[in-house]
């Protein structure tokens, strides 16, 4: 696969913006930290997939109002984080200037290999800057990077070392480590700011592709055409019909479902020998694969995710779930993902019975109806569960005679008899207990300590008995749809929606609830809405603009 940098050399002189000073007309500049996945994807898009990017070393960030994407707007970079990024940048730059790549990535031939060639370096820097920063470099920026390249090439008597140094500088620059959004007063809506053309393109590709804009999108930014509704609509459709939209879908659901918690998931191997490292990695993939299959490939309604019997399994996952999975994988082959459909009589139904939910929201050695109930309320219904009080006497709960209280339900009921605890546990536990037919490692069970498990309860005023009925209640609950729509919008703008935006989202919710909550349609409606590229008036304005 050709990298964008190579492609641009051949095709898109139109995008290049050599020596043009950027207009400095914006009134607001904000920063959203890019994720490790976006970092990796952008490097691969620009320099080719053969570049090894050890993005694991990068900090993940923190969750704000249910999303890492919102946290990213508040995230800065610690000393340790910067050190990681500098090490990563050195690693990437060293690969870019390796002899086998340099010929294709740097089109000009330097006058000498053992020193500086500013004009050749400038060509590379200009191209790399355009794609890494998703905008052309300004005259002074170009000069700055060429100087770095010049000094380093002379010092180390190596043209490539100069290129490498300039590239490192770009890769640790805030222009790359953050998605910089520049806004200016919206001519159509006085008092409001809207993103400029390049920032519009960045927000759009970040939202739909989880990556930086490609050449075509950048071209519409350069010409300013992206600011017109017609071209915006065209680009939204183009992006949504590209295979790269799968990256965007996976990134969004990984965020919404809290899959960053897999990094710290741990199961006691002696209690749950079936929960292997393979299973842990596969659990996350099972859900993402199912979501891609249902929402993109089959264009199913989002609400069906709660009740679909269709999924994908690996041999190890099937063993965990206790179901037979015919496999054809032979010696040395990659682990195959096999499409699998549960029978109607099974307790496996929808995303909520995946290990990525029941095992992720459990303790290492035992289940937790409270954690499961909380995750369901917060991640999928966008409801807030208050934090537990600081001082609780757990002795009554923990020291309870297990021979008397065989099931979690009995033990939790003891717990909930504490008035201080009762309020919140009423929110989480009744629905969390519906998942008790899956142990902490997602292995199905019907008894606990020999006693039958009671999975009946009440959700939103309706009685249910077991996970299948609960899943159907959740599917039909308006909160599930509204939560998805709000999360998707917030994810795209990296903040909570304003009051005005909420109104628009409410309308969208009513409409889609009737016509079907289809992923592409939802994305199209959000990304084509010009409001999506504005900055609400209530947000803080640029400090010195107000002074």
């Amino acid at each position: 696969m050709r990298s964008m940098l190579q492609a641009s050399m051949l095709l898109s002189a139109a995008v290049m913006c050599i020596g043009v000073t950027m207009p400095r007309a914006w009134a607001e500049m904000t920063f959203v930290r890019i994720t490790p996945e976006q970092y990796q994807r952008t490097i691969h898009d620009v320099f080719g997939r053969t570049i090894k990017v050890d993005a694991d070393i990068v900090e993940t960030g923190f969750r704000d109002q249910g999303l890492l994407a919102i946290g990213a707007r508040k995230l800065t970079l610690t000393s340790a984080g910067l050190e990681s990024y500098e090490a990563l940048a050195q690693q990437i730059a060293a690969q870019v200037v390796e002899p086998q790549r340099v010929a294709t990535l740097i089109q000009c031939k330097p006058k000498k290999s053992d020193g500086a060639d500013d004009s050749c370096a400038a060509q590379f820097i200009e191209q790399a800057g355009l794609y890494l920063f998703s905008r052309p470099l300004s005259q002074s920026e170009l000069k700055m990077y060429v100087e770095t390249s010049h000094d380093s090439a002379e010092t180390l008597q190596d043209f490539s070392a100069g290129i490498s140094a300039a590239l490192v500088q770009m890769l640790i620059s805030p222009d790359f480590l953050f998605r910089v959004e520049q806004a200016y007063p919206d001519p159509d809506q006085p008092g409001k700011l809207r993103l400029d053309a390049y920032s519009t393109a960045s927000r759009l590709s970040s939202f739909l592709w989880d990556s930086a804009p490609d050449g075509e999108l950048l071209a519409t930014a350069k010409s300013g055409a992206i600011l017109s509704q017609r071209v915006l609509d065209e680009q939204v459709d183009r992006l949504l019909n590209s295979p790269r939209v799968e990256h965007g879908l996976r990134a969004f659901f990984s965020d919404m479902l809290g899959f960053d918690e897999f990094a710290t998931l741990s199961k006691d191997a002696s209690i749950f020998p079936k929960f292997t490292k393979d299973v842990q990695d596969a659990a996350r993939e099972q859900t993402l694969r199912t979501v891609v299959d249902q929402l993109l490939d089959k264009n199913k309604d989002y609400r069906e995710l709660f009740v679909t019997r269709e999924t994908f399994l690996t041999p190890a996952l099937a063993a965990l779930y206790g179901v037979p999975l015919p496999r054809s994988q032979e010696l040395g082959g990659a682990v195959p993902w096999v499409p699998y459909t549960y029978r109607d009589s099974d307790t496996h139904i929808g995303l909520l019975t995946h290990a990525s939910f029941v095992a992720l929201h459990s303790h290492p050695g035992k289940t937790s109806p409270t954690l499961r109930g909380k995750a369901l309320r917060e991640s999928l219904l966008c409801q807030k569960v208050p934090a537990p009080p600081g001082e609780v006497d757990f002795s009554n709960f923990e020291n309870a005679d297990q021979s008397q209280l065989k099931t979690v339900r009995e033990r939790l009921e003891r717990h909930a008899s504490e008035p201080m605890c009762a309020g919140c546990h009423k929110i989480t536990d009744p629905i969390g207990l519906a998942f008790e037919t899956f142990d902490s490692a997602a292995v199905p069970r019907t008894t606990e300590n020999g006693a039958p498990i009671d999975v009946s309860g009440e959700f939103s005023g309706k009685d249910f008995d077991g996970i299948v009925q609960l899943a159907n209640l959740i599917k039909d609950d308006p909160a599930a749809t509204s939560c998805l729509i709000t999360r998707a919008y917030s994810y795209g703008v990296a903040r909570a929606p304003s009051a005005q935006e909420r109104q628009w989202l409410d309308g969208l919710k009513v409409e889609l609830s009737e016509t079907g909550v289809k992923w592409r349609e939802l994305m199209r409606r959000i990304a084509s809405n010009k409001e999506f590229y504005t900055i609400p008036a209530s947000e803080p304005q640029r400090a010195d603009a107000l002074q």
């Binding site: 079936k274 041999p315 099937a318 037979p324 496999r327 054809s328 699998y340 099974d346």
Partner: protein, 389 residues
């Protein structure tokens, strides 16, 4: 030594030597189509010689460790004790730095010959064989004789296990479960990550009760999976290989949670790292059905003793940890089953292995589920798997 003449030798030649080529290959899939029966299936997770180390097994001190075996071989070849110590402590090299190869101590037409391939190229070294009273196994010929053992757990008399008699005085076999003879441990642990798994199924009206059952063995097209602790993962699914060479079927009974079978023929292909093939005639089985759904116990019968010899010969004397010609001659001498119709020499030896099996789903190549992994507290899943799309 007694020769058990329990088979028609002609029939045996067909079965063991040529393998099972015909009729009974698809019995298992046919046998479970009736609705009233249930089939529980398993994957074999342990298979090891049923050893029984015991005081008095080897009154002459046994055949020793590899170093001791090597020492004896070198002294037989004319080296002094001092030279032998030097060679053994210098990774097999003599004072001049030359490699001393004990493996080629045989002589064929005056030329050196490798004793693994030509064990009778040297005279019988007369290894020590087990003289003790106890050994695991089965009474294969229905008789209690002076050379039978007594089972140390069931205390049954008349146990035929001449293979144990031949091997039990080598240090490597002088162990008791759970210790696995080192040569088998290495071979098995290496083989299972690459070898098609060995499958088993039990079919009957209600397997939680006493009654008649059908027991089948087959090889899979898939390898074993391991769990988070490196043991064999229960509950995985295996595709049954329709190759008749690894298929066998038996009538059996469950009584008080113990599974036994009517004697018959058993064959299972392995891998060269492990036994290339395991064959039993007059197969006996005694497996306990454990509360976690697994099976454990003994399988035994008469085995072609060359199959067993090849396992050791392939490993060589260093990692096999035996004296190969010694084992060869002992097997030949102690063999007690299936006489060759022409020479009258017994081609098989009585033997027993300890085996364990964990629940596993079995399917046909087309994905039809034909055996269920019954694990306590897990759902039932027999039936056709609906592959989506």
């Amino acid at each position: 030594m007694t020769v058990a003449r329990v088979f028609d030798p002609t029939d045996l030649t067909l079965r063991i030597v040529r393998g099972s080529c015909c009729a009974f290959a698809f019995v298992m899939s046919l046998s479970i189509t009736a609705n009233a029966v249930e089939t529980r299936s398993y994957v074999i997770s342990k298979f090891q010689t049923a050893t029984y180390s015991n005081e008095g097994n080897c009154p002459h001190g046994g055949n020793g460790t590899p170093s001791e075996i090597k020492e004896r071989i070198l002294i037989d070849q004319g080296y002094t004790k001092q030279q032998v110590d030097y060679i053994i402590s210098h990774e097999g090299r003599d004072e001049n730095g030359n490699r001393v190869n004990t493996g080629t101590r045989g002589r064929l037409n005056g030329e050196p010959a490798y004793v693994g391939n030509f064990p009778n190229s040297i005279p019988d070294p007369q290894i020590e064989t087990v003289q003790g009273k106890f050994a695991y196994g089965f009474n294969l010929d229905g008789r209690v004789q002076s050379d039978s053992f007594q089972d140390p757990e069931t205390l049954e008399r008349g146990i035929d296990n001449q293979r144990w008699r031949a091997l039990g005085c080598f240090a490597v076999y002088d162990v008791r479960r759970p210790v696995v003879p080192y040569n088998e441990y290495i071979a098995w642990d290496t083989a299972i990550d690459a070898m098609p798994a060995w499958l088993m199924s039990v079919t009957g009206d209600d397997l939680d009760k006493d009654g008649d059952v059908t027991v089948t063995f087959d090889r899979s097209l898939n390898i074993l999976l391991r769990d988070a602790q490196g043991s064999v993962l229960p509950g995985a699914t295996f595709v049954v290989d329709s190759d008749p060479r690894s298929h066998s079927s038996f009538q059996g009974q469950i009584e008080n949670g113990v599974l036994t079978i009517e004697p018959g023929d058993f064959a299972m292909l392995g891998e060269s790292q492990w036994y290339a093939i395991i064959r039993f005639a007059q197969t006996h089985l005694r497996l306990k059905m454990n509360s976690d759904g697994s099976l454990s116990g003994l399988i035994g019968g008469y085995q072609p003793w060359l199959d067993l010899y090849y396992f050791l010969a392939v490993r060589g004397e260093e990692s096999g940890q035996v004296d190969l010609p010694g084992v060869y001659y002992a097997f030949e001498r102690l063999a007690d089953g299936i006489p060759d119709p022409v020479t009258g020499q017994n081609t098989a030896i009585s033997s027993a292995f300890w085996m364990e099996a964990v629940p596993a789903f079995l399917t046909t190549v087309s994905g039809r589920v034909i055996g269920e992994a019954v694990q306590p507290n897990e759902n039932s899943h027999v039936g056709d798997v609906a592959l989506s799309q």
